[in-house]
């Protein structure tokens, strides 16, 4: 796909919309409207800055894209959304240009629309079930639900229309939430609305969890996260930073000593996975979490101001194919690496990263080494990374995940010279809570075991998000937060 400048996209949309009579639209003419591409920063410019890559639709674009929606009576998209947003509803309002109504509909179900509109994997959720995409036999040609969501959320913020949702009269009940990431914040939103006194505990010095330490500024500006969190604070949610539940206070002490009536654990995943290959502790090997936290939370990219250093490497390899791998690769490029490889043992088709992110990474010059896997990290005489030895793979029979299993080709070893590598292979469960809470049941991977109501083995304690699911997505974590909040609401009403 060729890069098209925002000006051209805007002009095309402005001209097209003049030719459309919204009252005369039928399924056929709706399907004739071209999919609206997301305007973005020029790839050659953006790889030298940290600013947001996707710039957001223009008003004409958002209306056109919204008009592509067929308004299906059975709304299959809603079932694809973990928090069940009334998608046809908010899209119809956007098509009419009633953005205030549109964002109001989203906010009935989601507290973080400006975040979700940017980082949700729409193509595997709401867009995957969209009738337009089905008809076009291409999920990427579905109605661009997330882009419309983003537009109306941004419109609300930029026009100072953010309304603080109404809060029910105080119930006198208190709920503690462990972690201020998407899951914790969603639960806080739903619980506070019901009138409970909600306190969120965050171990870092800034709120937002993975949205501030993990997801880079160029994909999700911190300011947007801050403003969405600010709405929660205005609703009366208390947030306490620099507080590690399990260490600063034992989990059960929140109930027994501090008088909370219930706890929701949304602590996130926590421990980066490594591959267990030779050379993994050499200087120049960083987990994606470390690399991204340095850059995002500690602003290490701002070398003039930040006290936190980040490793300057000329040639960098990222191991893995998820969104975090894309974020790390694109960050490395921005920090000044001349050559950045994404080394992935399957093919592009199996990559878990969002299509849009892979596309952006390619535009920015990231090199993809598919069907390749590192077997050894090579160090120089000073114990610093100087290269990786890799093995070529081919695809064999499908495995349990339904994806074709990558099989190493013996003797295909080859070396890539580089000076840093960033394993980005997901996370294991963090042991801090389970170690300090003997009665908390965890499975063999250390993830907290919950029932269908997200309740843990301890009364009044619930859990959800990555600490239960393993590493998932922002919206899945939010879905769990909402579900747990519903259970806690029932418990506190009883």
């Amino acid at each position: 796909m060729e890069y098209v400048s925002p000006d051209v996209l805007a002009k095309e949309a402005d001209e097209l919309i003049k030719t459309i009579d919204p009252s005369a639209l039928n399924p056929k003419s709706r399907r004739a409207i071209p999919l609206q591409e997301m305007p973005s920063q020029d790839p050659l410019v953006r790889r030298n800055n940290m600013e947001e890559v996707a710039l957001g639709y223009t008003e004409s674009q958002v209306k056109l894209e919204a008009m592509r929606c067929l308004q299906c009576k059975n709304a299959p998209c809603i079932s694809g959304c973990p928090v069940s947003i009334n998608i046809p509803g908010f899209i119809a309002a956007a098509a009419e240009g009633d953005f205030e109504k549109s964002i109001g509909i989203i906010k009935e179900s989601s507290s973080l629309p400006a975040i979700c509109g940017r980082v949700c994997p729409q193509e595997t959720q709401c867009m995957a079930t969209c009738t337009v995409g089905k008809a076009e036999k291409d999920v990427m040609r579905s109605v661009q639900i997330g882009r419309i969501e983003r537009y109306v959320a941004d419109w609300e913020r930029e026009n100072d229309k953010i309304q603080v949702p109404e809060v029910a009269p105080s119930t006198g009940k208190r709920v503690a939430i462990v972690g201020s990431g998407p899951s914790g914040l969603s639960a806080a939103f739903d619980l506070r609305k019901e009138g409970h006194d909600v306190t969120v505990y965050e171990a870092f010095h800034k709120n937002g969890g993975v949205t501030v330490y993990g997801i880079p500024e160029f994909r999700l500006p911190k300011k947007i996260v801050e403003i969405e969190i600010d709405t929660l604070v205005k609703m009366g949610v208390k947030i306490v930073t620099n507080f590690l539940v399990g260490k600063t206070r034992k989990l059960t002490d929140l109930l027994e000593k501090d008088g909370f009536d219930a706890v929701y654990i949304a602590a996130g995943a926590g421990l980066p996975k490594f591959m267990g290959i030779e050379g993994e502790n050499l200087v120049g090997v960083f987990s994606a979490n470390e690399y991204l936290t340095r850059s995002n939370l500690m602003k290490a990219y701002d070398t003039a101001n930040s006290r936190t250093p980040i490793y300057h490497a000329k040639k960098v390899a990222i191991f893995g194919g998820g969104n975090v791998a894309m974020d790390a690769a694109r960050t490395a490029k921005r920090i000044g690496a001349e050559e950045v490889h994404v080394v992935y043992r399957r093919t592009e088709a199996e990559m878990p990263a969002r299509v849009e992110e892979v596309h952006h990474a390619k535009e920015e010059g990231i090199i993809f080494d598919f069907l390749t896997n590192p077997v050894k990290i090579l160090g120089d005489e000073n114990g610093r990374v100087k290269g990786i030895e890799c093995l070529k793979y081919e695809l064999g029979e499908p495995d349990d995940s339904g994806r074709r299993r990558p099989v190493p080709i013996e003797g295909s070893n080859f070396i890539i010279d580089l000076d840093a590598c960033i394993p980005s292979l997901g996370n294991n469960a963090n042991p801090i809570l389970s170690n300090s809470t003997p009665d908390l049941e965890v499975n063999k991977w250390g993830n907290i075991v919950v029932d269908e109501n997200n309740k843990t083995s301890i009364d009044r304690i619930y859990a959800g998000g990555d600490i239960v699911l393993g590493a998932a997505t922002v919206i899945l974590a939010m879905g769990q937060g909402r579900h747990a909040a519903e259970s806690i609401n029932k418990l506190l009403k009883a």
Binding site: A203, F204, H205, K206, Y213, T241, N242, F243, L244, K247, T248, R249, K250, G268, G270, L271, P272, F274, G276, E280, N281, L282, V283, G284, F286, S287, N289, E290, T293, R294, M298, K299, D302, N305, S306, R307, T308, P309, Y311, H312, N382, G383, R384, N430, P431, I432
Partner: protein, 281 residues
């Protein structure tokens, strides 16, 4: 925001601070550490061992050497000032046992600070405690009285012989291993010192515990930056440690990893603190 209640300068560049942190004071145990940020906006997260705490006053004590940018900035703070962020207590507590044989606590330089609560805990558990503390010279030796208060015997070493024995701490440690058959040795100090303490005790098969201070960001296991090779395994200092079996730690790798940003920091330092002509301000 945590208020600095008291500040004492222990030597040229070593400071002791008592900081308001009631919950940490209540929960902390010997061997644990905190992470602080002097000023949040662009600050660095620095891990520091908790050198003591007063549960009633709700304060903890830290002792640090002003060596890098951030610790220098911390050293400039005064009583009544605030530290933007303070998280803790982190890491596992020291495993304190009552032995029939003596426990030897070895501290070098600033490492005497984290050693102090461990000496106290071993003593309070009813052990015979022999402490060996060392520094480059007399002026750099810290916490002698505090260590004496909980030790049955204290041996002091200085590199230049300005106080105590003119020896490295490993010399008396070797003698004690030979003559007293200690149950456990705890060694805390510069990585090289810990490495050689572990090498000293190894032939005598004396259990040797070291406390590692590696590069860290979050201190909760999330970043993995603190990882060390222990035996054949990769361990995270922040959640698996900070204390490990000194005979199993790959000190050379750890020392290498500590130097990850050395070059960049030198570059950084040589700009900050210099005037436009390149001289020191």
């Amino acid at each position: 925001m945590n208020k600095i209640i008291r500040k004492i300068q222990l030597s040229d560049d070593v400071f002791q601070m008592e900081i308001e942190a009631p919950l940490i004071a209540e929960e902390r145990k010997a061997g644990q550490f905190i992470i602080l940020i002097v000023s949040e906006e662009f600050g660095e997260r620095i891990p520091l061992t908790i050198a003591g705490a007063d549960e009633e006053k709700g304060t903890i004590t830290i002792i640090f050497q002003a060596v890098g940018d951030s610790t220098k900035e911390l050293g400039k703070k005064s009583e009544g000032d605030y530290i933007d962020s303070l998280l803790g207590p982190l890491g596992k507590a020291t495993h304190i046992v009552k032995y029939d044989k003596p426990v030897v606590c070895v501290g070098g330089g600033i490492g005497v600070a984290p050693l102090r609560p461990i000496v106290e805990a071993f003593k309070k558990a009813g052990n015979e405690v022999i402490s060996i503390i060392g520094a480059r010279n007399k002026d750099l030796l810290i916490l002698e009285d505090e260590i004496r208060a909980y030790s049955d015997e204290v041996i002091i070493c200085t590199d230049d012989g300005s106080y105590g024995r003119k020896d490295l701490v490993t010399a008396p440690l070797k003698e004690i291993c030979e003559s007293r058959d200690p149950a456990e040795v705890v060694a805390i100090g510069p990585p090289v010192m810990m490495k050689f303490c572990a090498l000293t005790t190894k032939p005598y098969k004396v259990k040797t515990t070291v406390s590692l201070n590696t590069i860290m960001i979050d201190g909760t296991g999330m970043c993995g930056g603190c990882r060390v090779t222990v035996g054949d395994e990769t361990k995270f200092v922040c959640v698996d440690g900070p204390e490990f079996d000194g005979h199993l730690v790959d000190f050379d790798n750890m020392i290498n990893r500590l130097n990850t940003y050395k070059h960049q920091e030198e570059e950084h330092n040589c700009r900050i603190g210099l005037d436009s002509k390149g001289g020191e301000k």
